[in-house]
């Protein structure tokens, strides 16, 4: 079988697998080739398809290869009755997912402390949707359930690996914030290190309160 034929078969297999997609191993097993060779072939196909202006593409999510339409065709596909409509997650769900994704494994209590609201229902809905799952039990009283994200989570957000999420620190520079905070508390006259408060600080504080 020449490379061209192999690519043909890979296309057919990925097409048949549809949304379930296929892992490198599955493709390799069916065709009877090494995984490395399949990976190389798929990489080539991805480039070729783009050049040939194909109407579909090969994407890799959660270590699974699958065929999808092109994002720029979304307006046409939305008009298509057969295309599954995607309901978007609520803000509560997204917020909760963000906490779980970045802090996993995490207990429901921790989630609720951060969000400031009860989150049992939201966690449950996310669990039902298969986006999060129980990954163990925390130590300590009551041994609360620990939650983490699933493979479906990666699929849902089109990620190949959880590490593809931007690191939390890239969004915030914590050191700067810490310095700001120190500075601020001084300015507010609530310097933690000094036990005695001077009259001038007190005056500052009063003004602040009355703003």
């Amino acid at each position: 079988m020449v490379a061209e034929e192999k690519k043909q078969v890979i296309e057919g297999l990925l097409f048949a697998a549809g949304e379930e997609g296929l892992s490198l191993k599955e493709i390799a097993d069916v065709i009877g080739l090494a995984k490395d060779e399949i990976r190389l072939l798929i990489n080539e196909m991805q480039v070729e398809w783009k050049l040939e202006r194909r109407g579909i593409q090969i994407t890799k999510v959660a270590q699974i290869y699958q065929l999808t339409t092109l994002p720029e065709h979304a307006p046409y596909l939305e008009k298509l009755a057969q295309a599954p409509t995607r309901s978007q997650l609520s803000r509560a769900a997204i917020e909760t997912l963000a906490i779980i994704a970045y802090r996993q494994p995490v207990t429901r209590m921790e989630i609720e402390e951060i969000r400031g609201v009860k989150s049992d229902r939201t966690v449950q809905v996310l669990q039902r949707k298969g986006l999060v799952r129980e990954v163990g039990r925390a130590e300590g009283a009551g041994r609360p359930i620990l939650y983490g994200t699933t493979k479906e989570f990666l699929e849902y957000f089109g990620l190949n690996h959880i590490a593809e999420l931007p690191p939390a620190d890239s969004i915030f520079n914590w050191r700067e914030w810490e310095e700001d905070r120190q500075d601020l508390f001084k300015r507010l006259g609530v310097d933690m290190s000094s036990e005695m408060t001077t009259r001038s600080e007190e005056t500052d504080l009063k003004e602040e309160v009355e703003v």
Binding site: F15, A16, A17, G18, E19, E20, Q57, T59, Q66, L67, T68, T69, P71, E72, A74, L77, P84, Q88, L89, R91, A92, I94, E95, L97, A98, I99, A101, Y102, I114, R115, G116, V117, K118, D120, R121, Q124, Q127, R128, Y156, F157, G158, L165, P166, A168, I171, F172, W177, D180, R181, L184, F185, L188, V190, M192, T197, L205, E208, V209, E210, V211
Partner: protein
């Protein structure tokens, strides 16, 4: 200051507070607590005037804000007096610090959520298709290969367990049967079959909490009225239910 805010727009008190602080164009670190508290209370009050349900979390935060505010207003001298009474360390921690920390933490995840939201939107632009029906290519592929009825049973247990924790949004309309009606049913069944096994009293299609409890209560009532008798012939065994007369007769024959 006009506050055209609907409470439902916010994910919780922290969310609302962040909004107020951002709207007031003040630094998150420099919360003018009196002003923010006033606005916060205004929102809660309006919501209550519109007879909207105000979640308890919002009220807890309102109480926290008021507590902080009143503490900030206390003359320092009073604080020092308190200190001498004994609660010194507590009084020297600025209550705003904890609030700032919580707000920062919350804001962080709110932003990370925005990152996820973008990914969601991106991903929702591509479509895939249902897997091809491969059944023509194979003879009798068992779609439940490796699964047993126990797995199925376990799945049901799990799903009912989680259902119990959260009230469904709308209630499934199911026939409700009163205890007395259920008592009559069991009575009738007993007369027909003489003896019933407790675990078989409920058909497999009646997995419904109320139904089970109603049945349970009905049997208790029947026992109390001395119309039935329940027994087990061995530990962990089935529970048998018999009509009281039948039991008496059996004992008479037995002895």
């Amino acid at each position: 200051m006009d506050i055209q805010i609907k409470l439902e727009m916010f994910e919780g008190p922290l969310d609302l507070l962040l909004h107020l602080i951002e709207k007031a164009e003040v630094d998150i670190y420099e919360i003018p607590i009196a002003k923010i508290t006033e606005q916060y209370m205004q929102v809660i009050k309006e919501a209550q005037e519109w007879q909207l349900e105000v979640a308890s979390e919002f009220l807890v935060m309102a109480a926290t804000l008021l507590a902080i505010k009143s503490r900030m207003l206390l003359p320092k001298q009073d604080i020092l007096d308190e200190e001498q009474i004994g609660a010194e360390e507590e009084w020297f921690i600025d209550p705003r610090e904890e609030l700032v920390d919580r707000l920062l933490e919350y804001k962080r995840y709110k932003r990370l959520g925005e990152v996820l939201k973008e990914k969601e939107i991106e991903r929702s632009k591509v479509y895939t298709r249902a897997p091809m029906d491969l059944s023509p290519y194979t003879k009798e592929v068992n779609p439940v290969y490796g699964l047993t009825v126990d797995d199925l049973f376990q799945a049901l247990v799990e799903v009912l367990k989680t259902q119990k924790r959260a009230e469904p949004i709308t209630k499934v309309e199911r026939e409700e049967i009163s205890v007395s009606a259920r008592m009559d049913e069991i009575d009738r069944q007993l007369r027909l079959e003489g003896k019933l096994i407790f675990s078989k009293l409920l058909c497999w299609d009646e997995v419904n909490k109320e139904r089970v409890i109603t049945t349970f209560l009905a049997i208790l009532e029947l026992m109390k009225l001395k119309r039935v008798i329940c027994y087990q012939d061995q530990l962990f065994g089935e529970i048998f239910i018999e009509s009281f007369q039948v039991e008496e007769e059996r004992e008479a024959i037995g002895s």
